[in-house]
């Protein structure tokens, strides 16, 4: 099957990708085909897992992950090693679950898809290592339901791995038992939030859970549970094989964060796609690799890592794309997949579209998110239709603030507030253009409100 119609394409030649520099993608060919068990084993597959299971203690694995400072690639950037060290383990503690968050639904994000479709064994190996480190009894891959190609690849890989003894009892004669089940989601963005994911996995409504207690204390079915992103797990084998030092050095002087990052670009560029590059690579290099802006139109703004990150301007392109730097610019690195906006595109419409998505994907648990987001959408729709009223922008400012961190139950609404607030900051005049009326009374049915 041809994969050329996918955006989820690696745009680096096989020659460029080497084991020492491209731990995630060096095994991939140029044909976009899945790397099966045989090919994976030929390319050092499961070597790290064998080494870890037979020669290292779980604590060693956690320590190495911590030293390597692998920061969570799902977007939050929390140290995976730190997370693993907080998982409850011990005599009286039941062995829990290891969950791979493969519910990739962040707008503008398609990186995990590449790994899932083409390199499922790398994920499985990463999960075996993670499971061992966290004393997990069983692993789940929570996969976005629309990723049917990935589901096929994972199902095949899990079968292959189980048949070859990489899953099941006594893996690699180490005495360690671990298996993985594939769970395909039913299509809610909120399932990417780790505790909502666990609820959904259990068969409950996909509402996030209050923290504390964290999943590491009481997660799926009340057992200690570790949830990591696909890319995070995929980093683990190379870290275990080559060590924390090597991993740290991959990014060299570019960033304090270690390793590589699967970056990508989408939007009005010449060649959207994915690149594995040292973490801390700048946005301008990425844009260059993507062939620059399409049709010679100028760059107006860009989102550094998905719909829930804040807008940045062309002047921010030279900053290294890592968690801390982008955070200091008032945005978040998120997934590290750039969405570019050209000068012809309306930021107002883009924000309306994003807020419509976030409002629709709210789980409906907490009030600000459930009822506040649809209000922003309706105001944005009014502005878009030139039916805004004086006070609308101030209301958007207020809503943006009220949807912020600490005020809502989970990070969903703060994520939705970020593009809204940053757009209001950088492109306020676009919003002001929609304000044509003085404040009026509530209307019976004044605005085409659409469906939210």
């Amino acid at each position: 099957m041809s994969v050329s119609r996918y955006r989820s394409q690696l745009r680096q030649s096989a020659a460029e990708r080497r084991a020492e520099t491209h731990p995630l993608t060096w095994r991939l060919g140029e044909d976009g085909a899945m790397v099966g068990l045989g090919e994976y084993l030929d390319k050092d597959g499961y070597v790290a897992a064998r080494k870890v299971l037979n020669h290292q203690s779980p604590d060693d694995v956690v320590a190495t992950m911590k030293d390597a400072n692998v920061r969570g690639r799902g977007g939050a950037g929390f140290s995976a090693g730190m997370k693993w060290s907080l998982t409850m383990k011990g005599q009286d503690i039941p062995r829990g679950y290891l969950v791979c968050n493969a519910d990739e639904m962040e707008p503008g994000t398609f990186k995990d898809r590449l790994l899932l479709e083409q390199l499922p064994h790398l994920l499985i190996e990463g999960m075996i290592i993670g499971g061992y480190a966290n004393h997990s009894r069983f692993g789940y891959i929570f996969l976005r339901g629309e990723y049917v190609e990935a589901a096929r690849a994972l199902a095949r890989a899990i079968d292959e791995a189980r048949a070859a003894g990489w899953l099941g009892n006594d893996i690699a004669d180490s005495g360690y038992d671990f298996d993985i089940a594939l769970h395909t989601g039913a299509g809610r963005y909120i399932c990417g939030e780790e505790t909502a994911l666990i609820n959904s996995l259990e068969g409950n409504r996909a509402n996030p859970r209050a923290k504390p207690p964290f999943p590491g204390q009481s997660g799926a079915w009340g057992k200690p549970t570790v949830v990591n992103n696909v890319e995070t797990f995929c980093n683990a084998p190379a870290v275990m094989l080559h060590g924390a030092r090597w991993y740290q050095d991959l990014s060299g002087e570019l960033s304090n964060d270690g390793g590589t990052k699967l970056y990508g670009v989408s939007g009005k560029v010449a060649m959207p796609g994915l690149w594995e590059l040292p973490i801390g690579t700048s946005g301008s290099e990425l844009l260059e690799r993507a062939g620059g802006m399409r049709d010679g139109r100028a760059l107006k703004a860009w989102l550094p890592g998905g719909g829930s990150t804040g807008f940045l301007l062309p002047e921010h392109l030279d900053a290294p794309l890592d968690f801390d730097t982008i955070g200091e610019l008032g945005s978040r690195m998120g997934t590290g997949l750039l969405t570019v906006v050209n000068e012809d595109q309306s930021v107002l419409s883009l924000v309306r579209n994003l807020e419509q998505f976030f409002a629709r994907e709210s789980c409906g648990w907490c009030t600000p998110c459930r009822d506040g987001l649809p209000w922003t959408v309706k105001i944005l729709q009014a502005l878009e239709h030139g039916e805004g009223e004086r006070g609308d922008l101030e209301m958007l400012d207020k809503l943006g603030g009220d949807l912020g961190p600490g005020k809502t139950f989970c990070a969903h609404a703060p994520g939705a507030a970020m593009p809204l607030q940053s757009a209001l900051k950088y492109f306020r005049e676009e919003f002001e253009r929609g304000v044509v009326h003085p404040p009026r009374a509530a209307h019976a049915d004044p605005i085409p409100v659409g469906v939210v």
């Binding site: 809610r188 409504r205 859970r209 209050a210 504390p212 207690p213 204390q217 009481s218 997660g219 079915w221 009340g222 409002a359 629709r360 994907e361 709210s362 789980c363 409906g364 648990w365 907490c366 009030t367 600000p368 459930r370 009822d371 506040g372 987001l373 649809p374 209000w375 309706k378 009014a382 009223e389 006070g391 209301m395 207020k398 009220d402 600490g406 005020k407 809502t408 139950f409 009026r440 009374a441 509530a442 209307h443 049915d445 004044p446 605005i447 409100v449 939210v452």
Partner: protein
């Protein structure tokens, strides 16, 4: 203990609490929706945001949800902080986006938590100018009305219905701003506790449908502290009256009994007091076949006294649904040797055994709240959801509390509700149930057995023996039962506080003795356990303590012409004895005087009928199944709106009748005097004197108000009768006024609270102002006095153990099975309960049905020595072979333990008859 600092003030609070609960307990107002004192915190609504500061130097602080934040020592918070206040106003503004502005026509208005919180946060301007979301509502049955457009999505309904009460047919559907709380399709809510949705819901999504057609705002209702008469649990209620009708029953907080919740029978079963066919005036028949003529009070008393004076011997038949005072006055009238409790012999034997066990089994009786503090439960012969539903809800909390314990081991506070459930999953404290059919608590039991009553008892005795080898051995016990008994014994012994529950539902004294033996065995092994014994009716316990003969004794005395007159107190004999027998006895008696508030079959046979006050029109004392004497207060004076009525409390009638009979002056009779006489006459009941304040009780020199201070329309209330307003009725019996005048506050603690209201708190959440701490006890102490105490002494085990149950070839043993809806006499006369009751069926095991060649719905006749009826068959997959299950309240001649013949009947004739009869009996007041 922890010290917290709120807006610069320091307070000592319980450090295990959350900040919201701690602040509310201190009397500080913090608005909230999703938190509930009985259900803990989930952090969904974000309404209770406060500013928290890291330390004394932190001036910026950050917003936290007070419900999700521990009240840790040295916490510093501000409720009045500007950012916190603005955020809380924003939350209300969001909730109001889709909330309709229909307060004027909404039945929640006036006791609406959302209204209260909206006013509290100061949100008063609408800025959202777009279209509101609308929902389609559902038909949820006779109890609950549904208006989803009002929903503010606090999730309390499903958290109560599913998580707290174990229901499964109410859920949250949809996502984002389109969340829907309802059933998967229209249909009757299945939970026995659905009525609590009306109080749990902070706004008008779920409202009381029985109240709807004759709706009155809370502020226009007249309330009194009352006690539910629909079972023996003793739940405290606040009935609300307007224009002479009870309009709804609200939960009345009692820290040791029902706390926040009632069952649906108690909440919705009040309609019998409003029936249009109620006797309002004395009725006289010169000949039993004549139609009755109505009499004035004096004439009625005169005729009654004549009847009694001319009789040789008068038998008095009391009632377990009447107050101690009324029963006592009847006994005074007829004399101790002529007094019957009006309870059938088998039930009376059970009740006597239960009262004895409560004293001498060695274990105390728990309050319903205390039930929740037990960690292993054995239930013998009771389906609590059918026989004492509120107690069943308490057992559910006891069993699920295992999760709270597990959570505590991981430092998860008990109030962190979702986290507790997540960690605990389906870990429960052990609950074992033995009953002939499936019960309402099987879903959380560690083991449930469906057994014949004798085998239930044998299981219990085997458990007792396994706990204490000195308890008698059960002969011929099969190996598997012995092992199961040992498992149960082990778990009970391992518990911190084991609870044994038995009762009289199956009419089996050996089942009760078995529960007693387990309790005694636990007591001998010095376990801090409890024994809860379920009685049938509101005053079964109290009447048994008062004493008296069985109903059969009374009928025999009359039938054998040892007596020629009978006075029947609030008792429909046809509900308790076979029709033919009662017919014959009443026919034979020369004089029949009946006091009742219902036009019962017995009333129709009376020479003289005296219209008695129902619970809503009378004062009285009941003793609940835990042995708690509790006073119910008169809610309204029936003569105020309907001057033609001559309704009086039975004790008042009986006092006057006695005076007339003795040709004495009737004189002044007050409730306090009757109660004192009753208490002094029966040593066991002596402490009942302390169960309520006397009529001269005052707060700041004021009587207590029955009506909220906003009560309106009093001057016009009787305008259709007379334009001049009469003086308000005077209450000589209690410290309450029939007026808004009087004390109604919360700052002077008092036990008896007619309705909970505090400034800014109009909803049931106002109870938090009347308690010593949120979810605790009433500030003045919880009302009522417990009368049944364990008495030390050497008590022997019960030794007459029953034989194993053996099915017979052509006869089936009757088990009468209690029903929550339809199984109780008075509530079965309320239309909503009749609608809610399942069709009456005869339960038969699948094997027996096969043997008889009948299938679901076929009509069978059941015939025993004392009774017969025809009922459609319902196959029961778990009922033991050899038993036939008969629903309670269908045919009193069919008695548990009797052997019945079963025969196929050709037509569905009798069923039609029952239905027809029921239609007659539903008559609500126009």
């Amino acid at each position: 203990m922890a010290t917290i600092h709120v807006d610069g003030q320091s307070y000592d609070v319980d450090g295990a609490d959350n900040l919201l609960s701690a602040c509310l307990s201190l009397g500080l107002d913090v608005p909230y929706f999703c938190w509930h004192p009985a259900m803990g915190s989930v952090g969904a609504c974000r309404q209770c945001a406060v500013k928290q500061y890291k330390d004394a130097d932190d001036t910026r602080g950050m917003l936290v949800m007070s419900c999700m934040t521990p009240a840790a020592d040295d916490s510093r918070i501000s409720i009045s902080d500007a950012e916190a206040r603005e955020f809380r106003a924003s939350v209300i503004e969001w909730l109001m986006i889709n909330h309709p502005h229909d307060c004027p026509v909404c039945e929640e208005g006036g006791h609406c938590h959302l209204q209260d919180m909206t006013v509290m946060t100061g949100h008063d301007r609408r800025r959202y100018r777009f279209r509101k979301r609308t929902h389609r509502n559902q038909e949820l049955g006779p109890f609950i009305a549904h208006e989803m457009n009002r929903c503010i999505t606090c999730y309390r309904c499903v958290r109560f219905y599913r998580d707290y009460a174990g229901g499964t047919d109410l859920g949250a559907f949809g996502a984002n701003s389109n969340i829907y709380f309802g059933r998967h399709q229209d249909g009757v809510l299945e939970s026995a506790f659905s009525g609590n949705l009306t109080e749990v819901c902070p706004t008008g999504v779920f409202t009381d449908k029985t109240h709807s057609e004759r709706y009155t705002r809370k502020w226009d209702l007249q309330f009194a502290p009352s006690i539910c008469h629909q079972c023996a649990s003793g739940c405290n209620i606040s009935p609300g009256e307007r224009y002479g009708d009870i309009r709804r029953i609200e939960n009345r907080y009692h820290g040791e009994v029902n706390r926040f919740f009632l069952c649906d029978r108690g909440r919705f079963g009040y309609g019998y007091v409003n029936r249009s066919d109620r006797p309002l005036r004395p009725e006289w028949r010169s000949d039993r076949n004549d139609t009755a003529v109505t009499l004035e009070v004096d004439a009625a008393l005169g005729r009654g006294a004549d009847l009694l004076r001319t009789s040789r011997r008068v038998i008095g038949i009391g009632s377990p649904r009447a107050s101690l005072e009324s029963n006592h006055q009847l006994r005074e009238l007829v004399g101790e040797d002529n007094f019957s409790t009006g309870i059938a012999a088998q039930e009376l034997a059970c009740l006597t055994a239960m009262n004895a066990l409560n004293r001498n089994c060695g274990l105390p009786t728990p309050t319903l709240r205390d039930v929740e503090d037990h960690d292993a439960v054995l239930v013998l012969g009771e389906d609590l959801i059918a026989s004492a539903a509120r107690a069943g809800l308490a057992v559910r909390q006891a069993v699920t509390a295992r999760r709270t314990e597990l959570a505590a081991e991981r430092d998860i506070p008990s109030w962190n509700d979702e986290a507790v459930r997540t960690l605990g999953q389906d870990s429960y404290h052990p609950l074992y149930i033995a009953y002939p059919i499936a019960t309402g608590l099987d879903d959380i039991s560690a083991g449930s057995w469906t057994l014949a009553p004798a085998d239930i008892a044998r299981l219990g005795f085997a458990v007792a023996h396994a706990i204490d080898a000195e308890a008698p051995v059960v002969e011929d016990l099969d190996e598997s039962t012995r092992r199961e008994a040992e498992t149960i014994a082990k778990r009970l012994l391992a518990a911190r506080r084991p609870l044994v529950i038995g009762g009289g539902s199956l009419g089996s004294p050996v089942v009760i003795e078995a529960a007693g033996s387990v309790a005694r065995a636990l007591s001998r092994r010095t376990r801090q356990g409890s024994l809860l014994l379920v009685r049938g009716e509101a005053n079964s316990t109290g009447l048994t303590m008062l004493g008296g003969e069985s109903l059969e004794w009374a009928l025999d005395e009359l039938d054998g012409a040892h007596a020629d007159a009978v006075v029947v107190l609030e008792n429909d004999l046809y509900q308790r004895a076979p029709r033919e027998q009662v017919d014959a006895v009443l026919e034979r008696a020369d004089a029949v005087i009946v006091l009742d508030h219902q036009r019962t079959a017995t009333w129709q046979h009376a020479d003289l009928g005296l219209p008695a006050a129902a619970f809503s029109e009378a004062d009285g004392t009941l003793v609940s199944l835990e042995g708690r004497a509790q006073r119910f207060f008169q809610v309204f004076d029936p003569r105020y709106i309907r001057p033609e009525t001559r309704i009086h409390e039975s004790w008042r009638w009986l006092h006057a009748l006695r005076a007339d009979m003795l040709r004495q002056d009737t004189g002044e009779i007050t409730f306090d005097a009757v109660t004192r006489a009753c208490a002094e006459h029966y040593p066991e009941l002596h402490d009942m004197l302390g169960s309520s304040p006397s009529a001269d009780y005052r707060v700041r020199g004021l009587k207590l108000a029955r009506e909220p201070h906003r009560y309106s329309g009093r001057t016009a209330m009787r305008a259709h009768l007379d334009v001049s307003e009469p003086r308000a009725s005077q209450d000589v019996d209690s410290p309450f006024t029939f007026s808004m005048e009087g004390y109604n506050g919360f700052d002077r603690p008092r036990e008896e609270v007619a309705f909970a209201w505090a400034p800014g708190w109009n909803s049931p959440q106002a109870w938090n102002k009347f308690t010593d701490e949120v979810g605790g006890h009433l500030s003045a102490g919880d009302p009522g006095v417990r009368l049944l105490h364990p008495c030390p002494g050497q008590y022997d085990y019960f030794v007459a153990l029953p034989e194993r149950f053996t099915p017979r070839d052509s006869a089936w043993q009757v088990v009468v099975l209690p029903r929550l809806f339809g199984g109780e006499e008075t509530s079965s006369r309320a239309t909503p309960i009749i609608e809610r009751a399942a069709p009456v069926t005869l339960r038969l095991s699948v094997d027996d049905a096969q043997r008889l060649g009948c299938s679901d719905g076929d009509l069978l006749s059941v015939v025993t020595d004392s009774g017969r009826t025809n009922l459609p068959v319902q196959l029961d997959a778990v009922l033991p072979v050899g038993l036939v299950g008969i629903p309670a309240g269908v045919e009193p001649g069919l008695i548990s333990g009797d052997w019945a013949e079963l025969k196929a009947e050709a037509t569905n004739h009798h069923q039609g008859q029952i239905m027809g009869q029921r239609d007659d009996e539903t008559g609500g007041r126009p």
